[in-house]
């Protein structure tokens, strides 16, 4: 049964709901992440408890074996207690084997769900605005490191519970042997846990700092590599300078990490000292009880063995619960900041608002342009000759008037894969693709590529020249066959002769649909039905 339950299918398993809204607090998000894996964490926790109790029984059984077998010299007793010990090991081994798999699956399922949620936020939100997470490195760090750390919270609800159960079980055994010792463990342990939570707060701050700084270093590396060709083009000075700048942020990250590690070291040193002294104190008290006749030798061994065993679960329960929770919460806070950022600072954010008077004039001009071009008859091709400054406002205004139009981005970005993968988007008709490729002037381009349509374009289209990228991006837009298309300077990197030919072909291709081209290129002006913008601004 558990085999089937633990089977990982090809398609993602469902997690419970995760609250990820603007009003969510980090603690609440962390809790809902823990709750989302309930289906797995409940059996996992039950098995973790069994496992830990099995572990706690080991010193008890060893103590009894020493008292009943080793000190008496009775071989039958030795065989009996060894057999019970073997049975206990079978139990603890089995429960770990499946319990830990349940816990891992729960953590991974939730992690996958969280990653998908974060990816949706990053990818589906409107581009633009001034957001730290626009930097791919920062976004990447959120979607990987922070998601991993937050999903680690799932384990906080499993293993520390099992470990705490071991402490409880051990305490009860101790209570039956000697009530003062049992009481000392049962009261002392929670006090230690409380103290850890208190100390753990400082650790959370250090951990947050460390992650922010590590993300900054990752972001810097990503940014420098994104501008790799620009830097290499400048020459060795720039390459050295880039390396120097990366080194600077890496050193900053290192300093913060070292600081966090020191805090971590002080924390765990204090922890092991506190628990160690606690166990030593219990042992000394048990020894005193033994010589004063309150405890037998075998009982003393059981008390000492059990208390010694309990150090680990005590330490780990406190640590995993304390720092695991703290780390998860720090990452939860960063992910929530991302959600807040995506919802608050959108495209029309501070960059426009800062220069309101200027922007107002432009927006008005853009709106009047947009109004002028928006009543197009099918088949019309209109060229808008607009300043770069009003271009964005114009596109925004057109977007409001024609939400269904295809607005081809200015930058010709291609995705890794073949030329065909880039042009043949899902749902595109083969005939449209053929026609679009021809219209965009890709026919001879494809002939010149080593593997034709199946040539890989490389990361960001790096295997192609700028002009090739632009024409493939144009073909991709044209192949969509949209009733209204808005192109922005689509052929700037293409030679003049080809540009003129492509403009003419686009004219021919779109005889039934409407086309708006924002450009000052004479090639498009030559084939336009209408040119919007002051005539003096149009060349030719």
């Amino acid at each position: 049964m558990s085999r089937r339950f633990l089977h990982v299918p090809d398609t993602p398993l469902d997690a419970g709901p995760i609250r990820l809204g603007p009003a969510t607090t980090p603690a609440r998000l962390t809790l809902s992440v823990m709750g989302a894996a309930r289906r797995y964490t409940i059996p996992a926790t039950a098995l973790a408890v069994t496992h830990q109790i099995g572990e706690a029984l080991v010193p008890v059984l060893v103590g009894v074996a020493i008292e009943r077998a080793v000190s008496t010299g009775d071989p039958a007793q030795l065989v009996l207690w060894l057999a019970l010990l073997a049975a206990d090991f079978a139990l603890l081994s089995f429960s770990w084997r499946f319990g830990s798999r349940f816990a891992e699956l729960g953590r991974l399922v939730v992690q996958h769900r969280l990653r998908t949620l974060v990816a949706e936020h990053l990818v589906l939100r409107a581009p633009g605005g001034r957001r730290a997470s626009n930097q791919p490195g920062v976004a990447l760090s959120l979607a990987t490191a922070d998601v991993n750390r937050l999903s680690g919270a799932v384990e906080v609800s499993v293993f520390p519970v099992g470990q705490f159960a071991a402490v409880l079980f051990g305490g009860i055994v101790l209570l039956t042997l000697s009530w003062p010792l049992g009481l000392a463990v049962l009261v002392g342990a929670p006090l230690l846990l409380g103290a850890t939570e208190f100390v753990g707060r400082g650790l959370q701050r250090a951990s947050g700092d460390e992650q922010a700084s590590a993300a900054a270093a990752t972001g810097r590396a990503a940014d420098l590599l994104a501008g790799y060709r620009v830097i290499r083009g400048i020459g060795d000075t720039a390459a050295d300078e880039a390396v120097r700048r990366y080194r600077f942020s890496s050193r900053d990250a290192l300093d913060r990490t070292l600081h966090a590690r020191r805090a971590d070291g002080v924390y765990s040193g204090a922890m092991s000292m506190a628990t160690g002294l606690f166990v030593a104190g219990v042992s000394i008290a048990a020894a005193v009880l033994a010589v004063t006749g309150g405890l037998g030798v075998g009982e003393f061994i059981t008390v000492v063995g059990l208390t010694q065993f309990l150090i680990e679960p005590l330490q780990y329960a406190a640590r995993a619960a304390g720092s695991g929770w703290a780390t998860a919460k720090a990452s939860a806070a960063r992910l929530l900041a991302l959600i807040g950022e995506s919802e608050g600072g959108d495209a029309d954010g501070p960059s426009v608002a800062g220069r309101r008077t200027d922007a107002d004039g432009r927006v008005l001009q853009a709106r009047s342009f947009a109004a002028t071009v928006s009543h197009l008859t099918p088949g019309a091709l209109v060229v808008v000759s607009a300043d770069h400054e009003i271009e964005d406002a114009l596109v925004e205004a057109l977007r409001v008037l024609h939400p269904d139009a295809l607005f081809a981005p200015r930058a010709a970005h291609l995705f890794p894969g073949s030329v065909r993968d880039n042009v043949a988007l899902p749902g595109t008709e083969e005939s449209d693709i053929e026609r679009a490729l021809t219209a965009a002037g890709c026919d001879e381009l494809i002939e010149n590529l080593p593997r034709g349509l199946d040539t890989e374009v490389g990361t960001g289209g790096s295997a192609l020249s700028g002009g090739q990228r632009q024409r493939i991006a144009l073909a991709r837009a044209l192949a969509q066959h949209p009733p209204l298309i808005v192109l922005r300077d689509p052929l700037t990197a293409v030679d003049t002769v080809t540009e003129a030919a492509v403009a003419t072909r686009i004219r021919g291709l779109r005889r039934e649909q409407r086309t708006i081209v924002i450009t000052r290129s004479p090639a498009f002006a030559a084939v336009a039905d209408r040119i919007v913008g002051s005539p003096s601004e149009v060349d030719g």
Binding site: A239, R261, V266, G269, M273, A290
Partner: protein, 582 residues
């Protein structure tokens, strides 16, 4: 991206060598750290020995004449051992962790340095996405492993050794009994290491794929929105993410089999100690206290052994990540790197001119991009390359700049060369940061002067040298970003400038002004201009017309017009249509 171009993963031997090397002068720290950790381990095995001694005291005095004073003395030793153990192991662990953190910082810096020192063509072939994943994911992987792996290695290893020493000290027979567990551990670890690394490598590879999908989406976010492809890409990221889940579970299953075997070893070990104790006590050669101490020592060992073997796991993945980081660091010594350099003789330096002699090039075997190119640009002169897209113009520019090394032929160029392509990038940072890349020591006056010369005065006035650009700052038009690139040419002051359609992506509106800025920058320098507007070519000292990878015509504007060939034809078409533009 084809797989064969990726950076290699460094083998274990190289990882060890480079890690050690990157510690630099801090290597001497190892000795004191080892001493502290040994002392901590010794303090750690003391409590069970003290407790064994307590059992003997209790046994001797079971009649009732309690030696409470002796017990309290032992108790004091116990408390002291706990105190010293905690302090020493904390100090040792922090020191070791810091050593490794410094090592990692050094390695990631060396990796970025290597990326900028390697032949550019080599890095392009590997894909910058792969490099970003290594600089991000893999560095994070190692960084996350350090706080788990390092204390386990430093603490547990020492504890295990100290325990074995302690046990033999109680009675050598216990030491011998311990040997029972060795074959089980060896078998468990060996079969684990046989299956686990493959799964971990696959897991890591799947994580890299997930990162690539994510980065692709983040870089192409505008395109995703325009074509409503966001959902599809989220789907791609999702299935890459689920592939990681499946592999991680596979890894967990392998790990659990490993742990089951460790449990078996624990059972055998404790059984062996009990049987040994039974025999020695029965024969009167050992004490109950000795058995107790040995059993307690062994029980204490479960944690450290598990912790150590547990991190074999994290250690494996950290080493895999380190291998990927160091694979880049050491890529220059890798024979694979030389494949892109072809068979041509290394270019030598000229006195300011550019000379290409019988240059041939292709990116893939059998598909020739350039053949038989002979071109000379004398110092201080300008040459323009024209031709249809795909004629090989950019390849020619890349060869001239040294981005690619030709398959055959000879290229001589001056020492300081700068290439500006149509690819624009505004770096995260201030306008000043963007400019000083070209000349780190430049003064503000020099920066301002350079901006003015490329007609970027308005840009300067608008955002100032301290204004932020890039993702967190001002979004600039491609023309403005290119003006900054041209200002960098002035600051870098190279002898040879190659403009590969540098002013192309500017948009039609800014073309004239940018071309003006470009000619300002080029004045007095040797230059090669890949022109896509014939107006740029007209004034050049030499015009080269390319067709299908060959030079079809060459000469000055007037000469070529008179010849009535391909150039004249191009000019006529262009002039008739857009004559006023020039």
């Amino acid at each position: 991206m084809r797989d064969d171009g990726r950076f290699p993963v460094a083998p274990r031997r190289v990882v060890l060598r480079e890690s050690w090397r990157s510690l630099g002068r801090r290597r001497w720290m190892f000795l004191p750290v080892v001493l502290v950790l040994t002392a901590a381990a010794a303090a750690g095995v003391t409590p069970p020995l003290v407790l064994g001694a307590m059992v003997d005291v209790i046994e001797e005095h079971s009649a009732g004449d309690a030696d409470v004073g002796g017990l309290l003395l032992l108790g004091t030793v116990l408390l002291l051992a706990v105190l010293c153990g905690a302090v020493l192991s904390a100090v040792g662990t922090v020191a070791t962790t810091q050593l490794f953190e410094r090592m990692l910082a050094e390695l990631r810096e060396r990796m970025v340095q290597a990326v900028f020192r390697l032949p550019q063509a080599r890095v392009e072939r590997a894909g910058t996405g792969d490099v970003v994943a290594r600089a991000g994911d893999d560095v994070a992987e190692v960084s996350d492993a350090i706080p788990n792996v390092v204390p386990a290695l430093s603490g547990s290893l020492f504890t295990i050794v100290a325990t074995l020493v302690g046990m033999t000290a109680i009675d050598p027979r216990y030491g011998v009994a311990m040997l029972v567990v060795v074959p089980v551990h060896v078998f468990a670890v060996r079969s684990y290491l046989r299956t686990a690394p493959g799964v971990y490598a696959a897991e890591r590879e799947a994580m890299a794929r997930r990162t690539r999908h994510l980065l692709d989406a983040l870089h192409g976010i505008e395109t995703l929105h325009a074509f409503r492809l966001g959902r599809r890409h989220v789907g791609l990221i999702g299935s890459a993410s689920w592939a990681v889940v499946r592999l991680s579970m596979q890894a967990r299953t392998i790990q659990n089999i490993f742990f089951a075997r460790l449990n078996l070893a624990e059972l055998l070990g404790i059984g062996a100690i009990l049987v040994t104790g039974f025999v020695s006590v029965a024969s009167g050669t050992g004490s109950l206290g000795g058995t107790t101490a040995a059993a307690l020592l062994f029980l204490r060992l479960f944690g450290p052994i598990n912790q150590l073997l547990f991190v074999v796991d994290d250690l494996q993945s950290a080493l895999a990540s380190l291998g990927r980081i160091i694979g880049v660091v050491t890529a220059d010594t890798d024979p694979d790197a030389t494949r892109t350099t072809g068979s041509a003789t290394e270019p030598s330096e000229s006195e300011g001119g550019l000379h290409l002699v019988d240059v041939h090039h292709s990116y893939e075997t059998g598909h020739r991009v350039l053949s038989g190119i002979d071109l000379t640009v004398e110092a201080g002169r300008s040459a323009a390359v024209v031709g249809a897209s795909g004629a090989g113009k950019s390849t020619l520019a890349g060869l001239a700049a040294g981005v690619h090394i030709p398959l055959a032929g000879r290229i001589v160029r001056p020492h300081r060369v700068m290439l500006v392509t149509q690819e624009t990038h505004a770096f995260d940072g201030t306008l000043r940061d963007n400019l000083t890349l070209a000349r780190p020591a430049a003064t503000d006056a020099e920066l301002t002067a350079a901006l003015d010369r490329v007609h970027a005065g308005p840009l300067h006035d608008r955002i100032g040298l301290d204004g932020l650009l890039g993702a967190p700052g001002e979004r600039l038009s491609p023309a403005d970003i290119q003006r900054i690139a041209l200002a960098r040419v002035i600051l870098a002051d190279p002898e040879l400038v190659i403009l590969d359609e540098a002013t192309a992506e500017a948009g039609s509106r800014d073309a004239g002004s940018l071309d003006g800025a470009a000619s300002e920058v080029l004045r007095g320098r040797t230059c090669l201009i890949v022109a896509h507007r014939l107006s740029q070519a007209r004034g050049a000292d030499l015009i080269v017309v390319m067709e299908s990878g060959r030079i079809a015509e060459r000469g000055r504007h007037e000469t070529l017009i008179e010849q009535g060939g391909l150039y004249a034809q191009l000019w006529q078409t262009w002039h008739r249509r857009f004559g006023q533009d020039g």
